[in-house]
Amino acid sequence: MVREGEVRIPSGCAIAAVISREGKGITGDVIYNSMKPMHDRSNGLGGGFAAYGIYPEYKDFYAFHIFFDDRTSRKECEAYLKERFEVVKGELIPTRKIPEITDEPVIYRYFLSPLRSMVESEQVDEKEFAARSVVKINTEMNGAYVFSSGKNMGCFKAVGYPEDVGLFYRLEEYEGYSWTAHGRYPTNTPGWWGGAHPFSLLDNSIVHNGEISSYDANRRFIEMFGYKCTLQTDTEVITYILDYLIRRQGLTLEEAASVIAAPFWSTINAKPEKEKERLTYLRTVFPSLLITGPFSIVYGWNGGLMALNDRLKLRSMVTAQKDDKVYIASEEAAIRVMEPDAEDLYAPAGGEPVIVTVKEGKF
């Protein structure tokens, strides 16, 4: 089979998210049911979820979710992991056999603690060490693909419709304070389990509806900083851009949003002086990270979510809230499934980030 990275077919998609500002647990069925009215935005070639706060008993360990082609690739990868991490636990991820989901790879998760001696010898911090391990496995080990690598969070994805993927992974058995979801309608790449969304690196995850036209310009720039775009999907490059801007450059979320969805110069010039200066600076310093073409994304991390549309708003997105919860989706219908009485319905403007964080100490 030809995989992501080997072929480019010239996306409609569906996204949804829910987060509790109080850090209260939400079961996975809430989010996968929300994808049902948006069924026709996907074509069954990919669905997935990111869940935050689901591994409280292992919250200090990196949780790697890995697809393996076979036993040999698993043994090879486990040997590599043991060289670099203390493997606290390794197990099959529980799944449910359903006719809608077939041809699954071998799906494992590992709770890992980096070996201090190894971290010190590479002269990087622990996060960079873990991230490098992920890149190494995904680029150099045939038959192994890390699709989730954060602490106290996990991505779950497959080829199938999102509501079926949720059932397959038994997500109703998990409780998280924040969830994102994606239904895929791939237009540029074939559907492969690893190519489904979310894309993630450490605890940063992205679900994305769109088709960015700046892919190659963005890729060329970001690959100068040690990232490897292996899948030719827009979402992967957005994940690395946000990791670079936020974790490595220390930008705030608002600043990162102003880089990737920078306003037009005419819009910038009409802003008050201070804002104009800020936006001009960001567009000038990171011109290669402007993402053009349609996108709506939900970016997740430990303790928060950010929703963002491209500056022309070529994809739809609606937000709403009720009590401690905030809802985000491509369509209002999806929000009404999660909360029929949702309030303050709002359609964010293009390039206007909606940032929701969980109260300090609640996650």
Binding site: D40, K313, A347, G350
Partner: protein, 240 residues
């Protein structure tokens, strides 16, 4: 005739609607089913719940009333009839509509009335009670777009880049439009009595549907937007 939409996908729901035939039909518990009432000619439909994208696409004379919000592309390419929304609409309402009327009580998203067109007796109109997002009336080629800017919030009556690429039709904004930047290829002027006479019947309908006072609506100044009557896009792509 009543159709409960829960558990029906868009195809089943539309088939049930077509079977219902002419006359009145109410659809309850609608939740995201697309293409509702697409191409339908003779029917009066009331919808409760959230209709999916492309509500009333290619609508051909039927009348649709939605008792809440609607999503994207309401009245996509509609040909005739009326759509009344007691709430907000998503992006691209009235996309390429070529006939009929759409009335929105609340706000509209981006690209309302994009590429609306008109020909002889086919004169579409889109009336938005609240505010409109960016690219209002993008590539407008005909018909009438009215934005009333009711309901106070801090947002301007229309977002960025209104009437970009406009080359036909008229737009009326209930505002003096100070601080709103229009492209060079359109003219704006404070609406004249003649202008207001052209849109009064639309405003009257709006007030009937949503319970507003016509006098109060007319108390504020309107701005009329029309394309430059010359050849405003000369040299934009090639000399022509």
């Amino acid at each position: 005739m009543n159709i409960n939409a829960s558990g029906l996908d868009y195809k089943e729901l539309n088939e049930a609607l077509r079977k219902a035939g002419r006359g009145k039909c109410s659809i309850t518990d609608c939740l995201g089913q697309r293409f509702l009432a697409a191409g339908i000619s003779e029917c009066e439909i009331t919808v409760s719940g959230i209709p999916g994208n492309a509500l009333g696409a290619y609508l051909n004379g039927a009348r649709i009333e939605v008792m809440g919000n609607a999503q994207d592309a309401v009245g996509d390419t509609m040909n005739d009839g009326a759509i009344v929304i007691h709430g907000n609409v998503g992006d691209a309402v009235g996309y390429a509509m070529r006939g009929g009327h759409i009335y929105v009580q609340g706000n509209a998203g981006y690209r309302a009335g994009i590429h609306m067109k008109a020909y002889e007796q086919k004169q579409p109109a889109l009336v938005i009670g609240g505010k409109a997002g960016s690219f209002l009336g993008e590539y407008q080629a005909g018909g009438t777009i009215i934005v009333l800017g009711l309901y106070d919030d801090d947002r301007p009556i229309v977002g960025n880049f209104p009437s970009t690429g406009m080359h036909g039709g008229k737009m009326f904004l209930r505002s003096d439009c100070k601080g709103i930047r229009f492209p060079e290829q359109v003219h704006t002027h404070p609406s004249t009595d003649e202008d207001m006479a052209q849109i009064e019947h639309f405003l009257r309908h709006f007030c009937t549907y949503f319970g507003h006072d016509l006098k109060a609506l007319l108390d504020s100044p309107f701005t009329t937007v029309v394309p430059d009557s010359g050849n405003p896009y000369r040299q934009m792509y090639v000399a022509n």
